[in-house]
Symmetry: C2
Subunit: 250 residues, 2 copies
DNA sequence: GCACCCCATTCTGGATCCAGAATTCACGAA
DNA sequence: TTCGTGAATTCTGGATCCAGAATGGGGTGC
């Protein structure tokens, strides 16, 4: 909690929140580069760094307390993840997702996750179901920032891991990352009706009812898709408002 | 170009071929980093750098004629592309694909490309078909190294571009990249029977016959999948031979 | 003779320094 | 008053330098 935490506005660029994240990640890292990567990823997913935000290497380096080099490494990785965007000789900004792109992400996820779920359910064991119940409950407890995304990632990782399709999971994970920041926004404004999705999904899975499980997953994804699109279009509507556009900051 | 082009064996690490590639990419680049990225990508796709090959930054930097820093940037990007693999504090190696992973890639491509093709054919114009004929012919002319992959990438880019699904295309492109190096190997050993795939696909597309086009695409992907798997399993069989393995840690 | 341990070498990862390009601010002219 | 031009500042991208870890070789002990 730094002193100038009073106004986590656009102007401060999420500096205070970023320093907090830096503190939480400070310990036990093999290399500084991956630490910075994790910090920045969390910052974007948690909303501390908003889409369109300019990411000046010098500033980030100072806030985290490292040199510019690992920051550059992390930014390059994040670019590959689709979370930031490089403008040649003009620096990096947090990538924003258009409604159309978000829609695409969910369409593709539908294809891939249904496939993964079917494959998973052919290889499911009782122990895995038990672990899923645990992770599902743990995920429902996590409500803040990047932990929310991480917990759910763990859940789905365990679920789809039964399919033993690492490449498929990698693709799904990439797609989930792209919309991670917006799902968080959806959770904040959304009602709790979707919170039972995990339970429904787990029960369908546990009872080995493939079609029902696929149905729950499909409904869930379609529902989130709608909510995220609504959020994105609302955000696009009041451009110039609290949502910082790609326009000139400074 | 270089004098010691005599023995492009595994021992030389593709140094001569890499220097050639460096020469071809030398001109007109905005930044050194992306140049190095292109060079290394081409080197891996063309087979100048073989899976399992150690990628020492100093050596690569000297061969290309730049400092180690842009090499590092390029390697990080290539890691995100799934073409190289970092071993913490032990450097990078060209990533090798297991038969199972290759099979996965083709399974996912089948899902995504069929979807992309369907979407494309709903939005197809005559001009695009004409351009596809051109690109198809151009692709069939390219037979060497990374150009082979690039030309086909251009073709499929034009094809799926009609669908106007950038994220979907990005995913497909990623998957194609992962198997690019092996497809090349398949082409080298494979017969020419598949060379008519482009024509068949274009004709089906031109006649607006969705199901036939999907059928051609599906057959093509399944066929290539089989061939690549055969190649990979043969390669895995003579491990310890010319193909350097990933070596046990420690 | 073989195996284990220690030391030297090498290479990665990080920090600091430098050059080129872009943005911004200021000044002047229309 | 406003627009255009030019210079200064700032920031990215690249090069060089340094520290720490891993590997390989050599020596020694069993």
């Amino acid at each position: 909690m730094s002193a100038q935490n009073a106004a986590p506005s656009v102007g401060d660029g999420g500096a205070a929140a970023l320093q907090q994240l830096a503190g939480r990640h400070a310990t036990g890292y093999r290399s500084v580069g991956v630490m910075v990567y994790d910090i920045l990823k969390d910052a974007i997913l948690s909303g501390a760094l908003l889409p369109g935000q300019k990411l000046r290497q010098e500033t980030l380096a100072e806030l985290i307390g490292v040199s510019r080099l690992p920051v550059r490494s992390a930014l390059i990785q994040l670019e590959a993840d689709g979370l930031v965007e490089f403008h040649e000789r003009r620096g990096a900004v947090v990538k924003s997702l258009s409604p159309a792109q978000a829609a695409e992400v969910y369409d593709i996820r539908l294809l891939l996750e249904v496939e993964a779920l079917r494959l998973t359910m052919a290889e499911l064991t009782d122990e895995r179901v038990a672990r899923l119940r645990e992770l599902g409950k743990a995920a429902d407890r996590q409500q803040e920032g990047a932990d929310f995304v991480d917990a759910r990632t763990e859940f789905y990782s365990e679920l789809y891991d039964a399919a033993n399709r690492p490449v498929l999971w990698e693709m799904i994970e990439q797609l989930r990352l792209k919309v991670g920041r917006y799902v968080l926004g959806w959770r904040l404004v959304g009602d709790a009706e979707h919170s039972h999705t995990h339970e429904q999904l787990i029960e369908a899975v546990a009872s080995r009812d493939v079609e029902r499980a696929v149905g729950v997953l499909r409904d869930h994804l379609v529902g989130v898709r709608e909510a995220v699109l609504e959020l994105l279009e609302a955000e696009a509507a009041d451009a110039g408002g609290p949502a910082p556009r790609v326009r000139s900051p400074r």
